[in-house]
Amino acid sequence: MAAGRRVVVTGTGVVCALGLNAVECWTALREGRSGIAPILATDVSELRFQSGAEVRGFRAENHFEGTRCDLIDRFAQFAVVAARQAVCEAGLDLRARDAAARGRMAVVTGTSMGGQTSLDRGFVAIYKEGRPRPHPFTIPLTMYNAGASQISMDLGITGPAFTVSTACASATHAIGQAYWMVRSGAVESALCGGSEAPFSPGILRAWEAMRVVSPEACHPFSRDRRGLTLGEGGAMLMLETLDGALARGARVLGEVVGFGMSADAGHVTQPSVEGPAAAMAMAMQDAGIEATQVEYINAHGTGTQANDATETRAIRQVFGSHADRLAVSSTKSMHGHALGAGGAIEAFATLMALREGVLPPTVNYTESDPECDLDVVPNVARQRQAGFALSNSFAFGGLNAVLAFKRWGKD
């Protein structure tokens, strides 16, 4: 186990297909309610898929004043709103803090596609409508660091702020990096997570062309699974040192205890067993825990044939016979695959599972698959007080990231 300070979560913020805040999202997760529905953002009648996990009822004007709406792509809007929620839940008044304190706080965000929806709109103007130029805000709207930048500006955070982009593992890499920075003493606290908003015509076409999106409901780990369902949203965690949190009387929601990552160094889209297994093993080693102490894994569980079978084999390789005593669920069956935000929404789900003693289910589970012979908590949430849990994220390009969490109050 790496030496360092203990790091706890004191605030969470979530905006996803399951709701516009943490309470709404957790309620849906524990009730096994899916946010997947017909896509409304753009015309998808010609696509091979029509369903997505869109955020409903989110209006930028309700969160950003005047012209600021024009300068923030939807993906960065989700990042800022989730960050505000996390800070609010943590009971922090950042503007009231002195400059030095705000300089010892980090912002690390993840996103897979950044503001490509804005770029897509700009390209339509140039290539389709024949206009001479896209909107002049296209660059600041599109830049991947917009989430981190907008959070720092919005909350007055002046410490290290940057963005990690590792496709579907972006948010998990971001949280892991922030966790290590707080643990090492590089900063005292960090806002970290991810956000994504991929529902634009060009992006949807690109995903369609990859033939990984399910034409129907996403059902991870089921034998008849046919692919992933795209999602959008943002989630942020407020991390701080345990000592710092206790000193200011903050409520502790859970503890981050380990982070592991690896690269498959293999195929660009075909996952390997070894890479994910190495990342899980490294997360547990980093946490100083044994495989047998882990009771729940929030799986990457995309619902593609390749991922779910390979992830099952990776879990069996790492956990051996203990794999039969683990609960493993894919909450993507409810909030969709929110790409660079996915790991943050799932870290939230994992944290809440430990805190509430309820394991969120894999919904739409229809048929068992010998290739995915794990206890996937089918369809209905389960009361189980787990002590340690992992949250897995595995990206296209073979980049893997795994976080380890510990229930607050566990000895």
């Binding site: 012209t67 206009r131 001479p132 130029r133 805000f137």
Partner: protein, 85 residues
């Protein structure tokens, strides 16, 4: 000065800043209107789009108030019309 063009520039500024059109006058400076460099860029884009003109970067850097914007646009429109005639 072309009154209609002045009214057009004023309404574009009001739209970009999301403020009432009455709050913008020919004598308003960008500073008074709290127009920062991004707002100015947005204004020029709107004027280019809606008037079918191209505003060079040097001209974009020189405008600091409503009157000089109208004058600059007027000049570009005149040049365009001469070139076309």
């Amino acid at each position: 000065m072309d009154e209609a063009l002045a009214a057009k520039v004023i309404s574009e500024i009001a739209a970009v800043k999301r403020i009432p059109v009455e709050s913008v006058t020919l004598d308003s400076t960008f500073e008074e209107l709290a127009m920062d460099s991004l707002d100015a860029m947005n204004l020029l884009f709107a004027l280019e789009e809606h008037l079918g003109i191209s505003i060079p970067d040097e001209a974009a850097n020189s405008i600091k108030d409503v009157r000089s914007t109208v004058a600059g646009v007027e000049r570009i429109l005149a040049e365009k019309s001469e070139a076309g005639s």
